[in-house]
Amino acid sequence: MNTFQEDIDKFLKGKLSSDEQAKFMAELLSNPDLELEFKKTMLEQDVAEQLIASRLKDEIKSWEKSENPVSKKKSVPYKYIWILTFVLLITLLLFYRIKSRLNKNDIRNQPIVVNKDSIVKVDEFANKDTVSNPYSGDDAKNIVKDGLLEMNYAALANKYYDKSSLDHQFRSVSIETIPQLNTLLEAHRRENYQEILTFLEQDTLLKASNYELYNQFVSDAYFNLGLFDLAAKGFKELAYSEGLDFDYEWSYLISMVGMYAENKTPVNTLIQKIKTDEKHLYHKKAIELWLALGELDR
């Protein structure tokens, strides 16, 4: 084809050494034939990229079809409607009977107590040696304190056991998992996070039936045990797996705060993201955190 092609391909794929690159660039500036071939090859790549883009569009359509297969509407004969209604009524009756029986010992019927003792734990956390906790000063301490309080028992209980939103909960908490949740919340109330992890390792029902809730318990336990890297991983998954969840994204950030001494970049990137998004629920808090961290070198 031409004598330059091999060098051009290597150059464009970054496979020339720095000496060879410099030589190639010098030749490119002085040799019009090479320049012409170079431009043709660039255009060839543009064509290839356009083809790739068009194929990727088709590929995306096939992903979406496989995720949302179009179901054919089937007409239901009228005689079956009566049977279906009857079955539905029986199911509802059984459902409410089971529900009322479980409610007798349900922690949802007990008053929610905010665990103020966790503030002591936060004080210990904030006063630790700067190697494990780079924060000092009241502002930074308050930010971390808020973060931990948001993840305490009251927050969990409010989120999943608020009676006024029972209807919503049945979408996220299946009735079979209520005994497991009671055990976990009891352990949480006692701040026995190791017990939570051990329990969830042995009893896999919650994980199988409600991965989000399972993940929140696990991540929360990791956070309280000071295993911030594991907590961050869990909260990150929670934040982004089913659309952006502001609460979990904030928990993810607070968890990364614990790892800050090791790697500042992800923390700063995420704070930037949240503080520049005016619609983010934690927009103002992110600005406060950013200012609080200003005391530290970044």
Partner: protein
């Protein structure tokens, strides 16, 4: 293949067509980049049909930039994807682009995007070439651009041996150059 980290996803995107498609599907569907992008756009009062288009265009640009090492690991992949979504959205609504320039993650993509967006004339010329290309050559160009080895191209396109692949590549490139020589207005395109 499992994709637990951004690094694994980047590696897969650079590892030929099959791995790349799996990785892109993983982030777009399983990790919900699509939903996250669309939610962002809805919050900016973007029309639903525009939002669908923007997230697809964003994934295309995201894929291209990762394969070509334009993404420089300055952020997580999700942040980068959202930065592209934002850029494409604000680019559509020109009046908002100026305000967007003040947003930090614009820096992540600005330089690369200003260079790579084709103008209408160039896009028309490229689409014209594509219409005239043989399907075999289209496949070859795509596989070469995805850094596929000659051995894999042989298997993928059913050639008997690597020499046959090399000859086919040569012929396709020759045909492409012949077209350019006969239609030299491409030299004035930017």
């Amino acid at each position: 293949m499992m994709f637990d980290t951004d690094e694994q996803i980047i590696q897969a995107i650079k590892s030929g067509e099959n791995q790349r498609n799996l990785a892109l599907k993983h982030i777009f569907i399983t990790l919900s980049y699509k939903e996250i992008g669309i939610n962002f756009l809805y919050n900016k009062n973007c029309k639903p049909e525009d939002a669908e288009e923007i997230v697809v265009d964003a994934l295309i640009a995201f894929d291209k930039n990762i394969r070509n090492d334009i993404f420089r690991n300055q952020s997580s992949l999700l942040t980068y994807f959202l930065a592209i979504v934002k850029f494409l959205f604000f680019r559509r609504s020109n009046n908002q682009l100026k305000s967007y320039e003040n947003i930090v993650d614009y820096d992540l993509i600005q330089e690369s995007f200003e260079k790579q967006l084709f103008n209408e004339n160039k896009l028309a010329f490229i689409n014209n070439i594509i219409q005239k290309m043989e399907n075999k050559c289209k496949n070859i160009f795509v596989l070469l651009q995805l850094d596929t080895s000659y051995e894999d191209i042989k298997d993928e396109l059913g050639y008997k041996n690597i020499n046959m692949v090399k000859k086919a590549v040569y012929r396709c490139r020759q045909a492409f150059r012949l077209y350019l020589d006969q239609n030299d207005e491409w030299q004035n395109l930017k």
